[in-house]
């Protein structure tokens, strides 16, 4: 074995972003969800104060009947990794952004992730739009508020947003925006559209 990871036991110590953070701060989370390779980690990295980190979980029974490993006997755990970043909002608030795989076999993870989340950004690749149908249905079922952000890959076909809205069967009230997952300002704007949408929902609720 190698010990390449042994340094990780060394405490990371004081980081510059922490200097803003007195005791008493609290965390809040937003989830970025989308198919494989759609740019979730890129988006997280674009707005995060720190390079994206990875947390993982061992999947055991939950994968039974879903993950098929023909010929591999005795393998009853799979590791599912999630990349995340953080944004220090103010002295009392840290926003964590989790990039979550949208594939069906990872859905078991969603319980913990979406519990207490402000909402979600569904990231869409126009070349594989079908991946989003189930994600959107799932979010609606769970009553997780979300906005849809179309990642503008240079080589992906460009469609007018109204056309995409129809293709995604997205209700008029759900914000649909384009964004460049590599661009900080663009990702920030996608997050802002989620927050403004949440304000609208909150206002409707109290009206």
């Amino acid at each position: 074995m190698d010990y390449a990871d042994s340094d990780t036991l060394r405490a990371p110590g004081r980081r510059e972003t922490d200097l803003l953070l007195p005791h008493g701060a609290r965390g809040v989370k937003v989830v970025v969800v989308g198919g494989f390779g759609v740019g979730k980690t890129t988006m997280v990295g674009a707005v995060s104060d720190i390079p994206p980190l990875t947390t993982e979980e061992r999947m055991t029974q939950a994968g039974v009947g879903i993950d098929h490993n023909p010929g591999v006997t005795g393998k009853n755990t799979t590791t599912v990794a999630m990349d995340f970043g953080r944004i220090s909002i103010n002295e009392e608030l840290i926003l964590y952004l989790f990039g979550t795989p949208g594939q069906e076999r990872f859905w078991f993870l969603w319980n913990g992730i979406f519990e207490g989340a402000l909402g979600a950004v569904v990231l869409v690749d126009t070349r594989r739009i079908e991946v989003c149908f189930e994600i959107i249905t799932r979010l609606e079922d769970r009553r997780v508020p979300f906005v849809v952000a179309v990642n503008t890959f240079p080589d992906a076909p460009q469609y007018p947003l109204p056309e995409l809205r129809t293709a995604l069967a997205l209700s008029e009230s759900v914000p649909l925006v384009t964004c460049d997952a590599r661009d900080r300002a663009s990702c920030r704007d996608a997050l802002l559209s989620l927050m403004v949408y949440l304000c609208t929902l909150a206002a409707q609720e109290t009206a």
Binding site: M1, L9, A11, E56, L192
Partner: protein, 118 residues
């Protein structure tokens, strides 16, 4: 000492994770990925390295997700370690901002304000 265990040695996990958690796996308290952990006492030399690391790194509060990332340990293993530290009053666990079906307007405005400064 030889073993009759027919299972091949697994390179990826030389130490079973229940060794790190001290054999306890079921008493984990409820931690969210973004529960913040703040150190309340200095590590002492007799502590297990993982727990000592947590006390050092959480001198400034970190989320459970970050602790998991920095220790390269699965989330569920970290929550067991943290449960023990909370029981021993060595760390404080600060629950996330509660988000109801519709989040608080003040919270949303704070986030909007913070994002605009990015």
């Amino acid at each position: 000492m030889t073993s009759d265990n027919p299972k091949p040695w697994e390179e990826g996990t030389p130490v079973p994770l229940y060794v790190i958690t001290g054999g306890e796996g079921s008493s984990a308290k409820t931690f969210d990925l973004v529960t913040l952990i703040a150190t309340r006492s200095a590590p002492d030399p007799s502590m297990q390295p993982e727990q000592a690391s947590i006390l050092t790194m959480c001198e400034y509060p970190l989320s459970v997700a970050e602790v998991s990332a920095y220790l390269s340990l699965p989330f569920s293993v970290v929550t067991v370690l943290l449960s023990q530290l909370v029981d021993d009053q060595r760390v404080e666990a600060i629950a996330p901002v509660p988000v109801a079906a519709f989040p608080d307007r003040g919270l949303l405005e704070a986030v909007i304000h913070g994002l605009r400064r990015l």
